[in-house]
Symmetry: C2
Subunit: 333 residues, 2 copies
């Protein structure tokens, strides 16, 4: 069996922390975020009351679904102390490919195509912009695909029928090449190949060559993503002379990470960069935090993603559940 | 594209009502309940404030996920006025089979087997107890399988690769027959065959032969289901002389519906029947409402599924959001 949530911090994250932050990661496209893995939980309120909602069932509409209050609230409404997690039958076989696309329209079209062709088996759709891949590919020798192409997609399907699933995956990828969504592609023929794809995708340390950096975790409609990234990079270059950046993320989930090389580090430059990234999200309905939460760092920008009425209701909830402000003070709201 | 939620009341249900009740139905196993279909919503609070959380993204952790407050709260915390729904790529092909099982252990084993074999394609796992099928099968002539067998399972997979998916489905079902999980089975070879399976499953009018009836919507762990149903039916027979019943439901989701023929209708008999059904759920962690909500009818029994601390927090939320009690008064809490 499988706990479907999986992310880069898998070596250090705790279950309670993952629930409190509604963590996301690499398989959200297929299995959902941590919220979807939680059947029940126990939380301790600020006044010491223990709310035990240790539900074990997929379906339960006996009153308000109180666990939703605590998932993703970053410990500010209660402390999660126990949980019942949904496990899935682990897929026996995974097909992996790394594909190159000439433009973002092809990246979006390929996602739609693979989703339709593979039904519920599509598990991962990770995209690396050229400015990411060119920095990270050297971790694999030789690199899975040559650098310098506009976009790289790490796409995976997970299933239980090795022959049938592999044939369906190859056929879907072949059709994408024929329809010119994909300009170059390599299939993983072994676990070692697959590990090499992931090593490139996970080679975040290579981005330290951009240091000092500021990293972002935003989500937005896929249709708006290409223009958004271009706008942010153009404004960063123009206003802050930021020439160095890397963009990657869980495009299948509408979630991308931007890493901006600040050139030099100062509070003013950080704030200016934050503004460039966050202020462009409000008009397109994007979120300043897809999966990393708000904490204290993004608190000042919460109004970019949420209305005054929403903020007021959040404060109202916080005041009701934690009138003395003792739960993770200074975070979220 | 497909709105994945689907249920018997598809001809009369409204979107707002489906969100307010967190409706379930026939495809929860694959796509989740209404809660999982709602990306964003707008709700009007008791004081007239409009909470507009029209999120369009799969991932958004910018503060508390306020929409969760309104989904499944039956209009008692706010009135849902707009929504952004998640659509899925509609599956191009569906495989359907009706299988008979000799005992409930085989029903549970078959679910696990089909889930593993079909990966993300398993869409439906509906079970009819003999006391249901024997009453409903005559709507199809001839019936898909002869009546009189202990359990009938309507199992469906949905995918996009007609040949590959059909082969995988037949292979999985064949293996189940070989391993003696299934004693008899028929595959749908046409849309007409499939319609016949569903006609039997949806032949709720045939249960009116049990009238006067009381219907129940409970959820519980699958491992406890067989004993629970036997206990309820034995107690109903012994204490209330109820000999007539029909049991069916979304067993893949842990959700079953019981229909008890009361013999004669009186408030006392209804209450006694409710007790028999609900009081056995608390010890096994079951829910008195899987997908039909609480309304006014089950309010008195909410304590069978929820602790005092949970009920207190629900009242606290209700008092905060609707201090004058004007939103759907008398319901839920």
């Amino acid at each position: 069996m499988l706990l479907a949530a999986d992310w880069g911090a898998r070596g250090s994250a705790t279950i309670g922390g993952a629930i409190a932050t509604n963590a996301g990661g690499n398989q959200v496209l297929r299995y959902g975020m941590m919220r979807e893995q939680v059947l029940g939980l126990e939380a301790v309120l600020a006044d010491g009351t223990v709310i035990s909602s240790m539900n074990r069932m997929l379906k339960n509409n006996a009153g308000y679904d109180l666990k939703q209050l605590f998932i993703g609230s970053e410990g500010t409404l209660g402390v999660v102390t126990r949980a019942v997690l949904r496990l899935r039958a682990a897929a026996a076989f995974t097909q992996s490919a790394l594909a190159a696309c000439a433009d973002f329209a092809s990246v979006a079209a390929l996602l739609d195509h693979m989703d339709r062709q593979l039904g519920g088996r599509l598990a991962t759709y990770e995209v690396m912009w050229r400015n990411f891949y060119d920095r990270t590919h050297a971790v694999a020798s030789p690199p899975p695909l040559p650098p310098g192409q506009p976009f790289y997609v790490l796409v995976e399907a997970a299933g239980s029928d090795e022959e049938g699933d592999a044939a369906a995956f190859e056929a879907a990828l072949g059709a994408a090449i024929e329809r010119e969504m994909v300009t170059d592609a390599v299939l993983a023929r072994s676990g070692r190949d697959r590990d090499a794809f992931w090593a490139v995708r996970d080679n975040i340390p290579a981005l330290m060559s951009l240091a000092p950096i500021r990293t972002y975790d935003v989500s937005l409609p896929i249709g708006a993503m290409d223009d958004y990234v271009a706008d942010v990079l153009a404004a960063a270059a123009q206003r802050l002379d930021i020439a160095q950046a890397a963009v990657f993320g869980h495009v299948g989930d509408g979630n991308i990470h931007l890493v901006l090389g600040l050139g030099e580090y100062s509070a003013a430059r950080v704030q200016a960069a934050d503004r460039i990234v966050y202020e462009r999200l409000a008009p397109i309905g994007g979120s300043i935090s897809a999966e990393h939460g708000i904490g204290s760092e993004k608190r000042a920008f919460l109004g970019q993603s949420r209305s005054e009425a929403e903020l007021a209701l959040m404060r109202h909830l916080k005041a009701m559940l934690d009138p003395k402000g003792i739960l993770n003070p200074g975070k979220v709201i």
